[in-house]
Each structure stands twice: as C-alpha cells, then as structure tokens.
Amino acid sequence: MVIEMEFAARTIRLRANEKLTAILGNRMCFAGLTIITLIALMGLLAPLIADDPYKTDLANRLTPPSPDHPFGTDQLGRDLFSRVVYGARVSLLVAITISLISMTLGCLIGAVSGYIGGYLDDIIGRIIDVFLSIPELIFNIALVGILCVSFGASTWNVILAIVITNWVSYARITRGMVLSLKEREFVVSTRAMGASDFWILFKHIIPNAVGPIIVLATLNVGNIIMTIASLGFLGLGIQPPTPEWGQILNSGKNYITTAPWIATFPGLAIMLAVLGFNLLGDGLRDVFEPKSRRMSYG
C-alpha cells in the first residue's frame, strides 16, 4: 500500500513536470531558448560587457574589427560592439512590451466577440478582416508617419503603430478558440451551477486557450523585432542616437563597400534574435499541439 502510494505520488510529480520536460526536450525549443537567453543576458549585462555606446571618437572612425573594438567602429568612431549590445535592450524591451499590450488587447476583444456572438461578433469579425487585408509593414509605415507628424518622433509612436496592426492576430486566434470552446459541455455544466458569463469566460474558457496564445506570442515577438528593425532602417523607427539595430544597419549602408562590418553585425543580431523566437515558437507549438504540426498563425 505504502509502495503503491509512493509510486502514485511519483507519477503525479512527473506529470506536473511533463510539460516543462517536453519543452526543454524539444530541440527547437531548446535552441530557441538558448539564443534568446544569450541575447537577453547580453542586454541585461550590457554595462558590464560593453563601453558607452554614445561615446564618439573621431580619430578612430570606421576602424575594422580589432581586439579593442571586436565589431569595429562606425562613422563617428563609436564602438559597434557596445551599440549592438545595448541595441539588444531596446529591441527586446520594445518588442516584448508591444507583444504584451497587443496580446491583452487582442485576446480580450477576440474573447468577448466570440463569446457574445451575434451582431457584435459580425462587426468585430469584419474589422479583423479589414485589418488583416492591409499589408502589415505598409500599414505600420503609414501609421508611424502620421504619428510622427502629429506628435513628433518618439519610441511610443513605434509601439502604438505596431500595437494597432498587431492586436488582430491575437483577436483572430482567441475568437476562433472561444467560438469552439463555448459549445463544449463543460461550459453548459458550469452555467448550470449558476456561473455568470464573466466567470465562464475568464475562469473556464480562456484557460483552455492559453496554449495557442503563448505560441502565437512567442512567434509574434520575433516578427515585431523584425518590424522595429525595418522601421528603424527606414528612419521611421526609434531615433538616433539611441542604439537600435535597424537604424545602425541603415547608417552602415552608406559605407557598405568601405566598412561592411557596420551593417553586418547589427544584421546578424537581428537575424539571431528573430531566429531564436521563431525556433522557440515552432517548438512550443509542437509541444502544445502535437497534432497540427504546420498550421500557420497570424
């Protein structure tokens, strides 16, 4: 009896850890997590591993990579390594902020729309369709342009613009999940015990939709990093002298033949960061939804 119970206790503990073990055991997840952790550590420990990213040194302009400047220096003699390292802070922080805001907003709108249904759902469904029909980057450029003219350039413009285009993918996924979940029998049995719609939606339905939303959010962070860099490259994003990868890349394009390292290293950083989030997202999808391996999101 005692042995039996001990065995039962052990299997239960195993089950609780199952998901975590599965996540770490998935090769894509593990690779993605490693890359993201490295980049995040780089951002966190920036003051320890890098110099001041703003310090100009005109005597040492455009020097190639050397032990003093591992990534070389830019057209103002700033240490490129420091700028790329500090750039990790900006990109990750802004991307995660945007992802969290649009997740909250999108999930809420999608869940309410799917749950209430009827005309409200028709209207919100059409709005989602309209947003999805506009190419995201072009929409973003237009929005940032409008915001810049109205309020002047700032990082908040970038955040606001990307949130406006980005919440729809969360709304779409959550709405779809809620539409199918609300027909499930446990919803009826919860209603039969006297629960309110609010209780049913937030305590019963949304917890069932968390898996796909986490997957989407992870893939989404990669996408946002790309969008921030694209806007930066076009000069619409986070403004100099703040070190931002896309914008450093842009400043390097004038020197692409004479000092190719200026464009190369921030480009590599962008690629690695996006790769990391995509790997993690794909891996998480395999763990959460083993049946639908190649379904596309967003």
Partner: protein
C-alpha cells in the same frame, strides 16, 4: 407530500429553418419534496430537454410556453440574475457526460468548489476543506491529493462521482441527474445506485429527478415513474405498481422490450418530432389503437396512477 416543483402545460419547441421541432409538447408533471422521480423514455423523447428547461439552459432559438413553478415562482419568468441564484444553489444539474463535462485544464477540487464559491460565498481555503470532505464522502481517496489533480487523471466512474459531488455541494433542494448511467458498464452501475442512495440517506428532504432510459436503475431508485413519449408524458405511476402493472400501451411495450422480459422490440419507429401526428402519438405503433386515438387523450386516473390513454376513459 408537498410539491417542490410543478410543471404546467410546458411546451418547448426548437425553431429551425426546416420547421418546428416539438421536443416537449404540453407536459404536466410535479416533483414532490423528498421523492425520487424517474423520467424514462426512449432517446429523443424530450427527457433531457425537459430537464434543461427547468434551469433555462436551452439555446436561444427555442420557444418555451407554460409554467414551471418552484418556490412559488415561475422559473420561466425569472430574470437572468434570479435564475442564476437558483441554478446550482436550489436546483443542481448533474450532466450526462462525465468525460466532457469537466473542464480539462482546471483542478478537480476547484471545479467541485465552484458552486460553493459562487453561492455560499466561501473563500478558497474554506471551500477547499469542504471539497476534501465531499470527495472523501463519495469515495474519492486520498481526497486531499485527488482534489489537486486534473480530470484526465480520473476514471469515468470517478468523474461521475465528482459531478455528483459538485451537484450536492450546496445542499440543493432538487438534483436533476441526466442519464447518470450513460457510458458506465454494468458492473459499475451498482456504484451509481449506491451513490444516489447515499445522497438520500444523508439528506431526506432532497428531491431527485433522474432522467434515464435505464429501466433497472429506475426500478431500484424511483419512488415514482413518469414515462415520456414524443414530447408527451404518457403515464405517471408509483414505481412499484408501474413495474408490476404498467398501464399505458407504450409502458407495457417498453417493459416487454427488457431482456429479462422477453426482449420484444416495439414495432415501427417513433414519429418525427417536426410534424408529429395529431392525437395520441403512439397510435401507429400501438396494438390497442382505435378510432378514438385520433384525438389526443387527456389524463385519466387509474388507481394510484394517471395515464394518457383512451383505454382508461
């Protein structure tokens, strides 16, 4: 005994594009305080719909007419807020499918605690200690540990007991159980019987409404039997007299179809509920049919029972 719940001339019709499905068509029925009433009938006879209509859990494309009096109030006229205070508190519902009626991502203990949190205003720790007692009472042990597990870690029979525990947690006056033996193999049915007997032993004033097509279960548990056919209640009898001497031809045929009584099938099929025939709906399948049956019979008293058949006029 006093009536706890009285249904008067209840009609529940589903409005579809293809027509009007008369799932419940003029039902009169009462549930007495402290009794076990079994509602029996074939699948599709409107039993579950009748049960769901008492808690107003039907979809929105439904037409309901009639009265369901409970506690002096017509349940069909209550506002959403008021009916919510009755659901789970005064009238509990034990759903028919234990496999899908529990939320897969929430702990079993939380789900059992929910009605108490919603209706008795208990905080989490107090609700949890009650949950542990309840699970223990229904034989889910070790209760403390099982409460923090998830539904997939429970067997079908245990989930059924969890659902019953959920239903009884707030001490309701009426428990409606929809097909409590569905999907449970014969050897485990004894447990279900024991389960409901325990509830009755614990609380003598609780009324049970068991919706089932499991006649042996009805036989051992019921005080009274109501037979439903095609949206009509055709016979209401004391359980003992019903099984000894069923009155309505449909009840007779139903009992004759039991394996222990000759496994004799009822001829024909039940009519479509979209355009049911006028008069007695059983007449096409009935051996005692006469020309009078083209008119719908009222309820006739026959001893302890009431029956809806011209034979007893």
């Amino acid at each position: 005994m006093d009536n706890l719940l009285v249904i008067e001339d209840l009609h529940v019709h589903f409005l579809l594009n293809s027509g009007r499905v008369r799932a419940v068509d003029g039902v009169n029925l009462s549930v007495k305080k402290g009794e076990t009433l079994c509602l029996i009938g074939e699948s599709g006879s409107g039993k579950s719909v009748l049960g769901l209509s008492m808690l107003r859990l039907l979809p929105s494309n439904v037409y309901i007419n009639g009265r369901i009096i409970f506690d002096g109030k017509n349940l069909l006229e209550l506002g959403e807020e008021e009916i919510r205070k009755i659901r789970g508190k005064k009238i509990a519902w034990v759903p028919q499918n234990p496999a899908t009626s529990l939320n897969p991502v929430l702990k079993v203990g939380f789900q059992v605690a929910e009605p108490m949190i919603l209706h008795l205003g208990l905080d989490k720790t107090r609700a949890w200690s009650k949950v542990v007692k309840l699970l223990d009472f229904f034989g889910i042990r070790p209760a403390e540990k099982r409460a923090s597990e998830y539904p997939h870690q429970f067997s079908g029979g245990m989930r059924q007991r969890v659902l019953v525990a959920m239903g009884t947690s707030t001490n309701p006056e009426l428990i409606i159980a929809d097909e409590p033996t569905k999907g449970i193999d014969a050897s485990k049915k004894v447990q279900v019987v024991r389960l409901f007997r325990r509830i009755r032993e614990e609380r003598e004033d609780v009324s049970l409404l068991l919706i089932t097509h499991d006649l042996p279960l009805a036989r051992v548990l019921a005080d009274r039997i109501a037979v439903m056919y095609c949206g009509h209640v055709v016979e209401v009898s004391e359980a003992k007299t019903f099984f000894e001497e069923p009155l309505h031809p449909y009840s007779k045929a139903l009992l004759d179809s039991l394996p222990s009584r000759g496994l004799k099938p009822i001829k024909g099929f039940s009519p479509s509920m979209v355009n049911p025939p006028e008069g007695c709906r059983f007449r096409d399948r009935c051996d005692f049919c006469s020309s009078r049956c083209e008119e719908l019979p009222p309820f006739f008293d026959a001893g302890q029972s009431t029956v809806r058949c011209w034979m007893y006029a």
